[in-house]
């Protein structure tokens, strides 16, 4: 057994479950711990270890571990119990070749490109090196547009004349990132939505295994540009747990400061984009203009506006002087005034209500089952916030509230984001007052080797719970396994379900209510559960590749 146990300090327990009884074990655990945090797979010692992590919305984590042989691994699917699990299972299937019996989409590729050969070994197995993979993929690479997500053949469920298939993406003006949604429209109404993601899959998890701990920090920071600091912070938290390093108090405060500034910038960005998606460009411009203040502060503190590269293992890379903190205080006060004025104006604007109220409605049950996190889940009334239930950084010392809204639609989620922005402003005001003195910059950058063990860290980025799993091998400069579970992954399951029955005009709003960050998940191609193949007659004179493969 190569399995090492999670550090006791996590307060977590790992239960070893035989692979045959996983469904029963999950059924039992799901009654008390309904939130599936993620399924982590590690390839070690010719075994594939699966770690199922559950939460009960109070931070009392429970883990189930299953050990499978790496030769034709196979296990029962748990997606019948928890809806969101199917996405995690597809990810594991793609990256490790584990077969999930009873999975709703048995033969669908998840995250790998269309050109990935069918018989090729899964990329994250330790037995496959990067060079071998590159050679293999270069030999089959053709510059062909990806194939359409909707198969044109199959059993027909719609009258052929009335349905138009509209490609939504991968390069669509509403989406800043590539993803493909094939929408079957009856008039303007959506009858089917088939998303296909994975355009931004960069293979970060494999890359991280080939970099040192410090270099991997810069790599995981670039998982997502908008919540980049949270990615690097979560990784650092996991690495510090693994390596047994504790940062100083001032460093914790500075990290929290940057994280909260990042939350404000991300939320005001999203609220502005809400206006853009609703066809209200002025709102977008107003909020982005206000947001520039925060970007200026981030640039002043960290030196860069977006990928801040501010954190390092054991502290932060630069101290923030008292004068700068004064500027932070002053600017945040100005921002508060400006943001209050604009957000109150636009959030009470009647035409905007019409676009957002009762659009993309979902219930709390669906959100839990899909595993939704962050403002999406809080918009349905569940106060799930990692900052509160599992405090990290300087959050234990700071007072703030977890915002929830009833309703579960685009409006309630936007309200949560607006209110959270004000909470973040409050947190920053407290940080500036309370920040302890000391040197937050570590003496040297961590360049050493790892210990044996594994660590698990969660934070609350603007989009919701982010979780990193880190495994170290003794004497190695590189992490043995980095697992990233981003908030967009489970939220997307929810958005795809919420899309049905609304009109084309609502698609941008519903898809983006979760604040999707496809570069974050970068691993998924999602097929909505239980969907059957469609056969739709296309309008005359439309070449098939133009109508589906090509966005425009």
């Amino acid at each position: 057994m190569g399995a090492v146990s999670l550090p006791k300090s996590d307060g977590t327990t790992v239960k070893l479950v035989p692979s045959e009884s996983i469904v029963d074990a999950v059924k039992e655990i799901a009654t008390t711990h309904p939130h599936l945090v993620g399924i982590t797979a590690v390839h070690a010692d010719s075994n594939i270890e699966l770690l199922y992590s559950f939460d009960n919305f109070r931070g009392e984590l429970r883990h189930l571990r299953v050990i499978l042989p790496d030769k034709q691994p196979s296990i029962d699917s748990i997606s019948g119990i928890l809806l969101g699990a199917y996405i995690y299972e597809m990810e594991v299937r793609d990256m490790f070749g584990v077969n999930f019996n009873g999975h709703p989409l048995p033969n669908t590729r998840l995250l790998l490109p269309d050109s990935y050969p069918a018989g090729a070994p899964p990329p994250l197995l330790k037995t496959v090196t990067m060079d071998q993979l590159m050679k293999l993929l270069d030999s089959v690479q053709e510059l062909q547009p990806p194939s359409p997500a909707i198969p044109i053949t199959g059993s027909s469920r719609y009258s052929a004349e009335s349905v138009v298939i509209l490609p939504f993406g991968p390069y669509h003006p509403a989406l800043k990132e590539p993803e493909h949604f094939a929408l079957a429209l009856e008039g303007e109404k959506i009858v089917e939505a088939r998303p296909r993601i994975g355009y931004v899959h960069r293979g970060i998890e494999k890359l991280a295994e080939n970099r040192t701990f410090l270099q991997a920090l810069f790599l995981v920071e670039r998982v997502c540009g908008i919540c980049s600091f949270h990615h690097s912070w979560t990784y650092t938290l996991a690495a510090e747990k693994l390596l047994g390093i504790t940062p100083g108090a001032r460093a914790e405060y500075l990290r929290t400061l940057v994280a909260e500034l990042e939350r404000i910038h991300s939320h005001s960005l999203w609220i502005g984009l809400l206006g853009y998606w609703a066809g209200f460009d002025s709102m977008f411009m107003w909020l982005w203009s206000a947001r520039e203040r925060i970007m200026k502060l981030l640039e002043m503190i960290a030196g860069n506006r977006v990928n801040k590269s501010y954190i390092t293992i054991g502290g932060v890379r630069a101290d923030v002087s008292d004068e700068k903190l004064k500027i932070v205080q002053r600017e945040i006060e100005e921002f508060k005034k400006e943001f209050k004025k604009i957000s109150e104006a636009v959030m009470s604007y009647e035409p905007l209500w019409e676009r957002t109220k009762n659009i993309g409605s979902f219930t709390a049950e669906l959100a839990i089952s899909a595993g939704a996190v962050g403002p999406t889940l809080r918009g349905a009334g569940i106060p799930y916030d990692i900052r509160k239930i599992e405090p990290y950084g300087a959050y234990p010392d700071l007072s703030f509230e977890v915002i929830t809204e009833k309703g579960g639609d685009v409006l309630s989620i936007s309200t949560v984001r607006v209110k959270e922005t004000f909470e973040s402003i409050r947190i920053i005001e407290q940080i500036v007052e309370k920040i302890p003195s000391g040197n937050p910059v570590p003496q040297t950058f961590f360049m050493g080797t790892s210990k044996e063990g594994e660590a698990f860290a969660r934070t609350e980025p603007p989009r919701g719970e982010l979780y990193y799993y880190l495994r170290g091998k003794v004497g190695s400069r590189n992490p043995y396994r980095v697992k990233i579970r981003t908030p967009t992954l489970p939220n997307l399951v929810l958005a795809a379900e919420a899309l049905k029955g609304y009109t084309l005009a609502d698609v941008p709003l519903i898809l983006t209510m979760i604040d999707p960050c496809f570069s974050c998940e970068d691993r998924a191609i999602v097929y909505v559960k239980g969907m059957e193949p469609l056969m739709v007659k296309l309008p005359r004179s439309v070449p098939a590749n133009l109508s589906l493969g090509c966005p425009i």
Partner: protein, 120 residues
């Protein structure tokens, strides 16, 4: 805060903006690629470099290669040194090289025009 629906405030906000000066930076200021708080571009100060290649080892995006930098007198010995050469199309401008350099031989400069490379 959003309990009351009212369109007046947005209408007023738009009207106010229509008749007030815009937020845009004047062109001569926006044209400067960096401002004082930007991190800047790594530039080598060859006199200080001793060719230890610590920067190249720590670079997260492997943008630094060590190239022969001529002869140099260190202490009282004349040695062949290698100097780092930055590939600016690979650099992620994180400033780690400047920070790990014990000799402070790498400067982060913010007074330079934007780097534009034309790849043919």
């Amino acid at each position: 805060m959003v309990e009351k629906k009212s369109s007046l405030r947005t209408w007023f906000e738009a009207l106010e903006n229509l008749f007030s000066s815009p937020d845009t930076l004047p062109p001569e200021e926006a044209e400067k690629a960096f401002n004082g708080s930007s991190r800047g571009i790594p530039v080598l100060v060859p006199e200080k470099c001793i060719g230890c290649s610590l920067c190249a080892l720590s670079c997260p995006s492997q943008a630094i290669t060590m190239v022969p930098g001529g002869k140099k007198t260190i202490g009282n010995k004349v040695v062949e040194v290698k100097n780092p050469s930055f590939d600016y199309s690979k650099c992620i401008y994180c400033g780690l090289c400047a920070q790990v350099c014990k000799q402070n031989a790498i400067e982060m400069r913010t007074d330079l025009p934007p780097i534009i490379i034309i790849k043919r």
